[in-house]
Amino acid sequence: MIKIEHLSKSFGKFAALKDINVHMRQGQAISLLGPNGSGKTTLIKSILGLVIPEKGNITINGQSVKRDWSYRSLIGYMPQIGHYPDNMTIDQVFALIKEMRKDTHDYDEELIRGFQLNKLGNKTMRSLSGGTRQKVSASLAFLFSPSVYILDEPTAGLDPVSSELLKEKILKEREAGKLILITSHVLSDLEGIASHIIYLQDGDLRFYSAVEELQAATGEEKLNKVIAHIMKNESRVAKTIQ
């Protein structure tokens, strides 16, 4: 589905990504983990074509992200910070993106109804709280039932009910065979969602493996314990995985 080969990117002297090679497949829910500044956002933005790779290649369904922009109709992206024009109403935001993606006519409005955004249609984006704006971003990402979801900190700022609703939706899509890429610092939110973990540190891909493998290698059950264990005894676990 998404194939990343020898991807490198640096900003000035700072190397954000160093020779990344990953092959992500359908049906996987991959959680991108790593400390701040480890290159998670750069990796996501490279896939979206927002960051131009220095070296290497990214293909989605065999289509290179470099020249052709049409591959983006396969992707639903939920940004970390949802910042919209002040005077645009919720309805206008949805209408705008719908008109930009005319190739899809079957809209998945489950989240819009779940978050009850359809009742707030005439509210301007300026008047919304941060959490409601986050709900708009989430609904937009799921609106076109794309085959790839890229969710950057999806549950940050959501109340527990909405957060649960979004997690259920993510699970549903994963079971439908979609590829889901999530970054989150709230590991407990990824519990039960993530099937694979990509761990980045200082722009290096430390490991990319299934959650079950990691659980077996560390002897821990909970995701946050697994990751804590790996961060403490990194080299030893890395050997076991390989």
């Binding site: 979206l48 927002l50 131009i52 983006r72 992206y77 940004p79 910042h83 024009p85 005077n87 206008q92």
Partner: protein
Amino acid sequence: MKTIIKYVLLDLLRNRVILFYTIILAVLAVSVLGIDDNPTKGLLSLLNITLLFVPLITILFSTIYFFNAIEFTELLLSQPIKRNKVLLAEYSALTVSLSTAYAVGIGIPLLLLVSGIESFILTLIGILLTFVFSSLALLIFVKFRDKTKGIGIAIAIALFFTLLFDGFLLAFIYSFSDYPIDQAVVGIIAFNPIDLARVLMLLHLDVAVLMGYSGALFKKFLGSATGSIFSIACIMLWIIVPLLLSVRIFNRKDL
């Protein structure tokens, strides 16, 4: 592209700053034109107001708008659309809304109180300057990552063209007054869109020769018609060149 222009325009037309800008311009136009019976004097005052405020307000508002919209721009770019289309759509929506503000604020009072070719030229000048300075704002946005730095540079550019440039030009004229520099001065003026706009207006008023060195020079060397075409062509370059540069830089920019 049309879709983005439509929705961004809908947002901008409800923007408070733009509404306020329109009202201020309208109040200025009506009061300035009402003070004197001589419409030429009123037009000249409005010309000076335009040359001073339109560049500054346009470049400041546009720079701030582009930097504030960066997350929204990213969201649009994550949709299946070409990069330069998003950029040009946002630019178009911005210039259209600011020009509309000018056309409503200054153009309508002029049309009602002093109609004629001069009023038309003044409105055209305001709109052209809006295009020039939002084009420069776009260039600042694609060139710099930091918003504060971008705003600082926007202010510097506006002040350079409204105040400093003429100071340098005067110094140049004084120090080389013994030499035949007339043609050189006409050439130098092409490097300042605000001077070009001023000349364009003065060429259409009978006071051209009285109103300053540059106007007189243009009339002498180029005559009214050629002078107008020359200054409009130069202003168009001031719109197109920054715009093309911005698109080029933006296509390779990391967001």
